[in-house]
């Protein structure tokens, strides 16, 4: 399961200045009430909680005050961001061999605090990392106003003849659409992968679906039948394990016509999402209603499952494609009113 979104972050006045500075290859810091210069700048002083006054330029060089080496980097980290690489060849290289790098706390010249960022010590590898080493920012070729405008720090000291270059580009970066306007927003992609496990109760339900059966579980204390079961009776807090097979017909207890779209939506609107109480169950579950005008769907409507073709049956809830009106007379309110 993947959770992915490109978060659009508004920066506010202090961070906006800082990110604008990065886009323009300047690193800014803030002076705290106690006189210490913080780089990166604070939005609110850690002691007084007040915003800073005018920001001041620091660095660009700095000194490493602590470091570590990461032999097995994670995707998305500096020097290992597969999504950021435009060159397919480089992408293949990366997939074949992730690029180890160092993390460091770096005190930029003129600052009293340290900045956490990546360090590429070059061919020396981890042997090239040491506390006290001098490093300078290696700027990204395409800068937008993000902490990643610094691709990493490196021990390559810029000289007057060769000022700190952007990686593979010249100092004056004309790729930004309007590089004179201050930066106010930054985009941060967040991508996380999860290994989702179905519980024993859910697994029993899914295995049942793969066999064309609807299996619920009964609570030994109150006798209610739940489908799909979550393994415990939510009313009593005791495990449910007695298996109960249910027919694939039921009653709509309530429903909603979804007209709104959103990222990640699985069904294109408009569609009817209904709570369906299967005959013999004591709790309704959500499913899709098709086969009628959404305006005709109503509480108490009788429905039956429409299964996919047998060869498509799997351990997944969409083994049932949707529910459709069965044509029976409506169920009386008393038969489902308790389960709304």
């Amino acid at each position: 399961m993947e959770i992915a979104f490109d978060y659009t972050r508004s920066l506010g006045p202090v961070l906006g200045q800082f990110m604008t500075g990065l886009r323009d290859q300047r690193i800014l810091g803030a002076r705290a009430a106690d006189g210490r210069v913080h780089a990166p700048p604070f939005e609110y002083d850690p002691v007084t909680a007040s915003p800073p006054g005018e920001l001041l330029e620091v660095g660009p060089g700095g000194t490493v005050v602590s470091w570590t080496w990461l032999p097995e980097p994670l995707d998305g980290q500096p020097l290992n961001d597969q999504a950021a690489l435009n060159d397919p060849a480089a992408l293949n290289d990366l997939a074949a061999q992730p690029r180890p790098f160092g993390w460091a706390l770096i005190r930029l010249d003129g600052a009293d605090t340290a900045m956490l960022h990546a360090v590429d010590p070059g061919p020396a590898g981890p042997a090239g990392m040491r506390t006290g080493m001098r490093v300078w920012p290696r700027w990204a070729a395409h800068r937008v106003g993000s902490i990643r405008d610094i691709a990493c720090f490196a021990p390559d000291e810029p000289t007057p003849e060769a000022p700190a270059p952007a990686a593979g580009d010249t100092v004056s970066d004309n790729t930004a659409p309007d590089h004179a306007a201050p930066v106010t927003m930054t985009i941060t992609p967040v991508r996380l992968r999860y290994l989702h496990t179905a519980s024993p109760a859910e697994s029993a339900y899914l295995r049942g679906l793969a066999e064309g059966r609807l299996l619920g579980q009964r609570c030994p204390a109150c006798g209610q039948v739940y489908i799909p079961s979550r393994g415990t009776c939510p009313a009593d807090g005791v495990p449910t394990d007695a298996e109960v097979e249910l027919p694939d017909t039921g009653t709509i207890t309530t429903f909603s016509v979804v007209n709104v779209g959103y990222p990640g939506q699985q069904v294109t609107p408009p569609y009817v999402a209904a709570a369906i109480l299967l005959d013999g169950a004591d709790i309704a579950f959500q499913h899709l209603i098709l086969g009628c005008d959404p305006a005709d769907v109503h509480m108490g409507m009788r429905v039956r499952a429409v299964w996919r073709p047998r060869e498509q049956w799997t351990r997944h809830a969409d083994t049932i494609s949707h529910f459709t009106p069965s044509g029976e007379p409506d169920a009386p309110y008393e038969s489902y009113g308790r389960h709304i």
């Binding site: 399961m1 959770i3 978060y7 972050r9 920066l11 961070l15 990110m19 210490r36 913080h38 990166p40 604070f42 850690p46 005050v65 602590s66 470091w67 570590t68 080496w69 990461l70 032999p71 994670l74 998305g76 980290q77 500096p78 993390w103 460091a104 706390l105 605090t113 340290a114 900045m115 956490l116 990546a118 981890p126 990392m129 506390t131 993000s146 902490i147 990643r148 930054t186 941060t188 967040v190 996380l192 992968r193 999860y194 290994l195 989702h196 496990t197 179905a198 519980s199 024993p200 859910e202 979550r230 393994g231 415990t232 009776c233 939510p234 009313a235 009593d236 807090g237 005791v238 495990p239």
Partner: protein, 346 residues
């Protein structure tokens, strides 16, 4: 006269649990059963429930709601939740009893770290503008702290390995531990770094687990437990989020400002060097038995490990092994938040 006591504690065995979902229900039901058996209580006797867990660990908004199935919420219950370690849920429960709105409270914590990219997820705790976009993983960040202490002469890699070896040896007696066994310092130091200067043994294992603690007011505690662990001090504190500006190797003093050292201290230190920092901040010296359970280095169920430390400390009193105990929990990167609870027998 102190007013609230721990009267029950249980924790699940910690490991990679293929049979449980991220809702945590399967891990909770058995341990709820254990504390009910310890105290003779049923769910209907609990006046307030509070849990600690994380949506980001579970990969789902409101993930803790499903765990309420383990409670049995009919008739309706008074319930709350912290998106922090369950130790802070215990704190909220303690406050609730102090208000008089409940006389028995149950706090629980749970986390299934094996399903998440834990090192990456925890990077989202960092500053969202300045740090999180770089994805500084939790082990690398801890390594930076460890190196600062080494180079300041505060501890050595050998000191760190000693913490690991002692913890693992103690864990042999702990059926909930994920990692346990006798191991030599030399053997540990011969192993490779995972993030110089941290080796695998310097880092807590990744696993799934849950913990539960029952609190009772003075009026009820003695009927529920022969030897309640009376809470004598309960507080917590946050440090600055600015990792580059904060002193990362020294914490200002934590815990009650005076009093004799506790017989037992359970410290929530997911990294070996952090135990050293905590011992100093708590003023814990040689007379205190530190982490007889093995601590977080042998079992670190996210969002339950801190609660488990408090529970283990209480258990030392309830079982008569100790007359006084201290439990500590931490939240956030590099010991940013710390909670301390001291308890005693009476």
């Amino acid at each position: 006269m102190t007013e609230v006591a721990v009267v029950g504690f249980a924790q699940s065995p910690v490991g990679v649990r293929d049979d449980s979902t991220t809702s945590g229900v399967e891990m909770l039901v058995p341990i709820f059963g254990q504390v009910y058996a310890q105290t003779g209580l049923t769910r209907r006797d609990i006046g307030f429930w509070c849990s600690g867990s994380s949506d980001y660990l579970a990969g789902r908004a409101f993930s803790f709601v499903q765990a309420v199935d383990a409670i049995g919420a009919v008739p309706p219950i008074m319930e709350s939740h912290v998106e922090m370690d369950g130790a802070w849920a215990l704190y909220e429960a303690w406050v609730k009893i102090l208000t008089g709105e409940a006389d028995i409270a149950l706090a629980y914590g749970f986390g299934k770290a094996s399903g998440a990219e834990l090192r990456k997820v925890l990077a989202l705790q960092l500053d969202p503008y300045l740090l999180a976009p770089l994805w500084p993983d939790s082990v690398s960040v801890a390594a930076l702290q460890a190196r600062l202490g080494i180079e300041a002469g505060r501890w050595t890699e050998k000191d760190m390995a000693q913490v690991a070896a002692r913890s693992r040896a103690a864990a042999v007696a702990n059926p909930s531990a994920q990692v346990a066994g006798e191991v030599s310092i030399e053997d540990l130091l011969a192993r490779p770094y995972v993030a110089d200067p941290l080796r695998a043994h310097d880092c807590a294992p990744v696993g799934d687990g849950a913990a539960v603690v029952i609190l009772a007011s003075a009026e009820r505690a003695r009927e529920l437990c022969d030897r309640p662990a009376w809470i004598t001090w309960f507080g917590h504190r946050a440090e600055s989020a600015a990792l580059g500006a904060r002193d990362l190797v020294t914490l200002a003093p934590l815990g009650p400002p005076d009093g004799p050292p506790p017989d037992v201290a359970e410290l929530h230190a997911p990294f070996t060097h952090q135990e050293i920092i905590l011992r100093e901040a708590l003023g814990i010296g040689g007379t205190t038995d530190v982490n007889p359970s093995g601590g977080a280095l042998v079992a670190n169920p996210m969002f339950a490990a801190g609660l488990a430390r408090l529970g283990c400390a209480a258990q030392a009193i309830m079982t008569g092994r100790a007359d006084s105990a201290l439990g500590h929990a931490t939240s956030g990167p590099l010991l940013q938040q710390n909670l301390v609870c001291t308890m005693e027998a009476q």
